[in-house]
Amino acid sequence: MIQVENLHFSYTKVPFIQNMNFAVHSGEIFGFLGPSGAGKSTVQKILTGLIGTYQGNVLVQNREVKHPHKDFYETIGVDFEFPSLYEKLTARENLRFFASLYKKTLPLEPLLESVGLASEADKKVAEYSKGMKSRLNFIKSLVHEPQLLFLDEPTSGLDPSNARLVKDLILEQKAKGRTIILTTHNMFDATELCDRVAFIVDGSIRALDSPRNLIMKRGAHQISYTYQSEGLEHQRNVGLSTTADDMMLQMLIKENHLLSIHSSEPNLNDIFSELTGRRLQ
């Protein structure tokens, strides 16, 4: 779906995006994870044909995106990090206008309903809250049923229940076979949604794999358990792969004396800091 080879780009004379290489397969959710200013949005702008002054090869749907044809835009949907809506128009007027730019579009009413905006559709966007704008902006990218979706922080600024709603809609798109490029600095979202994630820092990719593999590769699965002895509560840790060697654990299990036991995996945030020396947020 997307092939990027030796991508270099900068807004200024100072090098920024450097030697980026990756491929996105059809039907997957591919995540960009990185701290603010890493270049996530910049890469999306390149992939969507907005910045044509890059060096290297960027093939999207097997075609270089330096000078995309207008049909290319019939097949991609973009949700930028900042809402782009006509403030003086209502939500419905906005959607109707954007839909009018495409050859084929979905009915608007179900779209509005899917993000809970149907009853507010005739309000001016200027009167919308941040989260409402964000949801409207999201469905705006779906009006023409694009095969390829670029979502830049689609859940930022949403309360947990609306974030859930949007995440479910993203998964629904994936179930329909769409390919999705997702940018976020929320590692929980990335872990949950993405088939693969690229860690991006200072304009280059530091790691690229499925969230599960990234976590597993660290091999740091631990079991920690607690028990009581001489009136005090004790805690011990043991590697998941060496539980058989832990005599204390064996004994506690045999005697039914365990107070608690759980395994703990490092999360993407830990992996990210380990690999890049930077925090995500």
């Binding site: 044909g49 907005l50 207008k70 973009v78 809506l85 730019l101």
Partner: protein, 237 residues
Amino acid sequence: MKALVQSFFMVFRQVRKDSMLIMVCFASVLAGLFFRFAIPRLETLLCTYFMKSSILEPHYRLFDLVLNLLAPYMLCFAASMVMLDEYDQNMTRYLSVTPLKKSGYIVSHLVIPAVLSTVVSMILVVAFHLTVWSFLDLVAVSIVSLLSAFSVALFIFTFSHNKLEGMAMAKLSGCILLGLPVPFFVQAELQYLFFAFPSFWIAKFSKEGHVVFFLVAFILSLAYIPPFLHKVERKIV
């Protein structure tokens, strides 16, 4: 094509919602009315008072020229205000990743309004002229007005970050009109100090009738466009 038309209507819709821009669009009509009906009366008054046979009349051509440039200038200014407004709302970027693309955005927001404004300005001259125009002269002058106004709009859009700055830029760019009176008032050699103004050459063409002056005006006004266009393209990311 469909996207272009829709996007152009959207410009229209936004102008309609902004009373300042509506005023801007009608300003050239008001100017036309004023030139046509007030100026000749003023001339009669002045002539009787100062007991001369003509005062303003030798410069009537200048009024027509101003009128011809005014409509494209005003309408392109309105278009660039709409563009700045859209830039503020991240719309320019978004529309560039729809089938409209960057090029369609510029065509629907600037080229179409500029061409329409030129038609308007030709109608205004036909309706409110003070001097006699041949059709070819009118077309020639209108083309240069069109190109100048187009580069003014590009200039305003590139060098301002919001509508407020845009208005300041518009005042600055009002100096494109400066070249017009030069051939009428400034003595021979000094005139050429204004060589960089397409409006100077077109006024000279209109007054003296040499095709060379038209060609210079045409090429010059065309030459301003590519660098500004490039900047506009770089601004939309």
